[in-house]
C-alpha cells in the first residue's frame, strides 16, 4: 500500500448524497481478477454517454460534459468532496481501487458507509468525516474559487483551506500508523500468531462443532 502523509490537492466536488458503490464502479468491471486499472471506469455511467465494458479504451469514449470529473478545472484532482453516506451499498473494494487508481487520495464527506470507509484505509485512501457545516463551506468555496485546493496533513490530522482556515479530523491510532507507513496489516497481525493459535485452541475446546 502507498503510504499517505500529506498532500495539497485540487478538490473535485461531487454534490450528491448516497453515492453508492454501483455508481462508483459498475458491476461489469468487477469481472476483473486484478486490483489495478479501474481508474478509467470510475463513475462510468455518470462520466460517459456510452455503455462501458471491461477492457475498453476510454480515451475516445463520448463524455457527459456536465459531470464534474469531465470538467477541465478538476483535472488531476486528488481530493474528492462528497455528501452524506458516500460509498453505500456493495462491499466491492473495486470502489476504492477505482478512486485511488484515478488519482484521488482523500475523500471528505459528512458521513461514509461502514464497509467502504474501512476499505479506503486498506488502499492508501484517507476518508475524512467533516461536519455538514464544514462540508457546505468547502462546496461553496470550491464553487467560487478557481483551482481550489486543500492541504491535508495526516500527522497533525488537519485540513487547511487556501485562506489558512483549518479543521481537525479523527482517525484511530492503528489506522493512522498503517496509512502513514503504508503497512501491510497482515504482517502486523501475524506478529500475534501465537495469540491467535491460543485463542483458537480454547475456542475449539468450548465449541468443537465450529471446527467440523
Amino acid at each position: 500500500m502507498k503510504p499517505f502523509t500529506e498532500l495539497n490537492g485540487v478538490v473535485c466536488p461531487l454534490d450528491r448524497a448516497n453515492v453508492d458503490t454501483d455508481a462508483i464502479i459498475p458491476k461489469q468491471f468487477l469481472k476483473s481478477i486484478k486490483r489495478s486499472g479501474f481508474g478509467p471506469y470510475l463513475f462510468d455511467e455518470w462520466r460517459y454517454s456510452d455503455v462501458g465494458e471491461p477492457g475498453m479504451d476510454c480515451t475516445n469514449r463520448p463524455l457527459k460534459k456536465d459531470f464534474v470529473l469531465n470538467q477541465k478545472q478538476f483535472k488531476g484532482a486528488q481530493v474528492l468532496l462528497a455528501r452524506d453516506n458516500f460509498g453505500c451499498g456493495s462491499s466491492r473494494e473495486h470502489a476504492p481501487w477505482a478512486i485511488e487508481d484515478y488519482g484521488f487520495r482523500v475523500i471528505i464527506a459528512p458521513s461514509f458507509a461502514d464497509i467502504f470507509f474501512s476499505n479506503c484505509y486498506k488502499n492508501g485512501v484517507l476518508p475524512i468525516v467533516a461536519s455538514a457545516e464544514i462540508v457546505d463551506q468547502l462546496f461553496r468555496e470550491c464553487a467560487t474559487q478557481k483551482g481550489y485546493k486543500l492541504r491535508v496533513d495526516l500527522e497533525t490530522q488537519t485540513v487547511r483551506n487556501p485562506a489558512g482556515e483549518w479543521f481537525n479530523f479523527d482517525i484511530t491510532p492503528h489506522r493512522k500508523h498503517c496509512l502513514m507507513n503504508g503497512l501491510d496489516e497482515i504482517g502486523l497481525t501475524l506478529q500475534h500468531a501465537d495469540e491467535i493459535k491460543a485463542f483458537e485452541k480454547k475456542h475449539k475446546a468450548a465449541q468443537p462443532w465450529l471446527f467440523a
Binding site: 454501483d22 486484478k34 462491499s91 486498506k122
Partner: protein, 468 residues
C-alpha cells in the same frame, strides 16, 4: 451490572486481543466466498507466499457471473468464465470445507447455501466479501460483509481487525396483515431510519413480530440490514432456529447438539441490556411496500403516490427526489398502482428461498402474466431450492403463467451475467437494491416482496396484494 446485548456476547466471545484504542483482532469462524471479491485476495497470498490459516472455515461457490439458462453451453462470456475458473483454481490450491463449482447440484447464491447445509450456526462470526453477509445474522451469528483486503486478511490470519459497533435495537411488535411479509418489514424499517440510519451500528431485530417470522423471513430481514446502513443484522436464536438447523449436514450431532443448543440459548440480549438506539415499529401499520426511487429508503406503501419534490423544503433532499424521478421516468404524484412494469425478477439472496417461491407461485397459480410484461424471471437461490420447488410443482405453476424458470444464481439482482434490464426498462424486483444501473445500465428497479412481484407480473402494474 448492566446486562449484555446479543451483539456484545458475540463480539466478546471472539476477541483475540484488543489495542488501547479499542481496535480488536476478532476471530472468524466461517469464511464464505464467491468469485467476484476473492481473486485479488488469493493473488495477495501467492505474492507473499502465505497459506490459508484454516481452510476448513471456507465455504465457497461461484454465483454472481454464472448464467441461469443454457447451462449446457457453459459460461459464454470469456471474462466471466475466467473469473469463475479462477475461483476453481484458487480453491483447488488453497482448500475449502465446501465448494460447489458451477453446475454442481447444490450450487447457488452463497448466502442461500450456507444456512442450507448448516455451515452457518448461532454464535459464529461469519464474513464474506459481500455486503449481504448480514443475512446470516438471522441465526444469531455475527455476520457482515468485508472488502477484498479483509478477505485476504481473514484467509491469512483467521482474524479481522475491527472495532466494536454501536448497538441498535429495532423492535417490531404486533401482527402483520395477510400479504405483508418480512420484505415489507425490511423496507418499512429502511423507509423509517434511512439508508444511513444504521451506519456505525449492529442492528438487533426483536419483538413479537420478529419472533413470529420464519427463519427464511428472518434471513430476508437481516439481509437488508446493510440497506439501512448497518453491516450486521442480528436475531436471537430460538426454538425455530434450532428446529431449522437440526440434522443439517454441518450442524452439531449427538452430545455436541445438546451442548450447542444449551449455549445457543444464552445468545440473547439480557434484560436491561443497554442499546445506543432503540427504534420501535407497529407491525399492524406496515403495508406492502414498493420503492419508487433509486435508493431503498425511497419507499412507499402500495397505496401511496410518488412524492412531489415541490413539497420538500430541504434543498439537498429536493434535488435527490428530482434526480430520482428523472432517472426512474416518473411524474410527481403518480399513484404507485398506476406504474406499469416491463419485467419482473423473482430471486436474489433476499427472496429466492423456497417460501418465497411458494408465495409467488400461490399468486401466479392459474393466471397468466400480462401481455405487456416482456419477461418474468424466477431464479431459485440454490440447487436444493430448485429441486424442492420442482418436487412441489411450483416450476409448472410459473411456466404455465408465462414466467421463465431458471437455474440458480445472483442473476438480475446485479446483472453481472446475461440477465439484465435494457435502458429505460422498468422492473418489479424482489432483490435488495434499486440503485441507478444496478439491474443494467439505465434500468429502473422497484423493490417489492415475492407476492407483490408476482402480482405485478399478472396485472402488468403494481397492485395491492391484500386485495388481489
Amino acid at each position: 451490572m448492566a446486562g449484555k446485548t446479543l451483539y456484545d456476547k458475540l463480539w466478546e466471545s471472539h476477541v483475540v486481543r484488543e489495542e488501547a484504542d479499542g481496535t480488536c483482532l476478532l476471530y472468524i469462524d466461517r469464511h464464505l466466498m464467491h468469485e467476484v471479491t476473492s481473486p485479488q485476495a488469493f493473488e495477495g497470498l501467492r505474492l507473499t507466499g502465505r497459506k490459508a490459516w484454516r481452510k476448513d472455515s471456507i465455504v465457497a461457490n461461484p454465483d454472481h457471473n454464472t448464467p441461469t439458462n443454457h447451462w449446457d453451453e457453459g459460461i459464454t462470456d470469456p471474462i466471466s468464465r475466467l473469473q469463475v475458473e479462477t475461483l476453481d483454481a484458487n480453491i483447488k490450491d488453497f482448500g475449502a470445507l465446501v465448494y460447489f463449482p458451477f453446475k454442481h447440484a447444490n450450487q447457488g447464491i452463497i448466502h442461500v447455501i450456507g444456512p442450507e447445509n448448516g455451515t452457518t450456526l448461532p454464535g459464529m462470526t461469519v464474513v464474506c466479501g459481500d455486503s449481504h453477509t448480514s443475512t446470516h445474522g438471522a441465526f444469531g451469528a455475527l455476520a457482515h460483509g468485508i472488502g477484498t483486503s479483509e478477505v485476504e486478511h481473514v484467509l491469512a490470519t483467521q482474524t479481522l481487525v475491527a472495532k466494536r459497533s454501536m448497538r441498535m435495537l429495532i423492535k417490531v411488535d404486533g401482527q402483520l396483515a395477510a400479504g405483508v411479509t418480512a420484505k415489507d418489514v425490511a423496507l418499512a424499517i429502511i423507509g423509517k431510519i434511512g439508508t444511513a440510519g444504521g451506519t456505525g451500528y449492529a442492528i438487533e431485530f426483536g419483538g413479537s413480530t420478529i419472533r413470529g417470522l420464519s427463519i427464511e423471513g428472518r434471513m430476508t430481514l437481516c439481509n437488508m440490514a446493510i440497506e439501512g446502513g448497518a453491516r450486521a443484522g442480528l436475531i436471537a436464536p430460538d426454538e425455530k432456529t434450532f428446529e431449522y438447523l437440526k440434522g443439517k449436514q454441518f450442524a452439531p450431532k449427538a452430545a455436541d447438539w445438546d451442548k450447542a443448543v444449551a449455549y445457543w440459548k444464552t445468545l440473547q440480549s439480557d434484560a436491561g441490556a443497554k442499546f445506543d438506539a432503540v427504534i420501535e415499529l407497529d407491525a399492524a401499520k406496515i403495508e406492502p411496500q414498493v420503492t419508487w426511487g433509486t435508493s431503498p429508503e425511497q419507499v412507499l406503501a402500495v397505496g401511496g403516490r410518488v412524492p412531489n419534490p415541490a413539497k420538500e423544503n430541504d434543498a439537498q433532499k429536493r434535488a435527490g427526489i428530482e434526480r430520482a424521478l428523472q432517472y426512474m421516468g416518473l411524474k410527481a404524484d403518480t399513484p404507485i398502482s398506476e406504474i406499469k412494469v416491463d419485467k419482473v425478477f423473482i430471486g436474489s439472496c433476499t427472496n429466492s428461498r423456497i417460501e418465497d417461491l411458494r408465495a409467488a407461485a400461490q399468486v401466479a397459480k392459474g393466471k397468466k402474466k400480462a401481455a405487456s410484461v416482456r419477461q418474468v424471471l424466477v431464479v431459485p437461490g440454490s440447487g436444493i431450492v430448485k429441486r424442492q420447488a420442482e418436487a412441489e410443482g411450483l416450476d409448472k405453476v410459473f411456466i404455465d403463467a408465462g414466467f421463465e424458470w431458471r437455474e440458480p444464481g445472483c442473476s438480475m439482482c446485479l446483472a453481472m451475467n446475461a440477465d439484465r434490464l435494457a435502458a429505460g426498462e422498468r422492473c418489479a424486483s424482489t432483490s435488495n437494491r434499486n440503485f441507478e444501473g444496478r439491474q443494467g445500465a439505465g434500468g429502473r428497479t422497484h423493490l417489492v416482496s415475492p407476492e407483490m412481484a408476482a402480482a405485478a407480473a399478472i396485472a402488468g402494474h403494481f397492485v395491492d396484494i391484500r386485495s388481489f
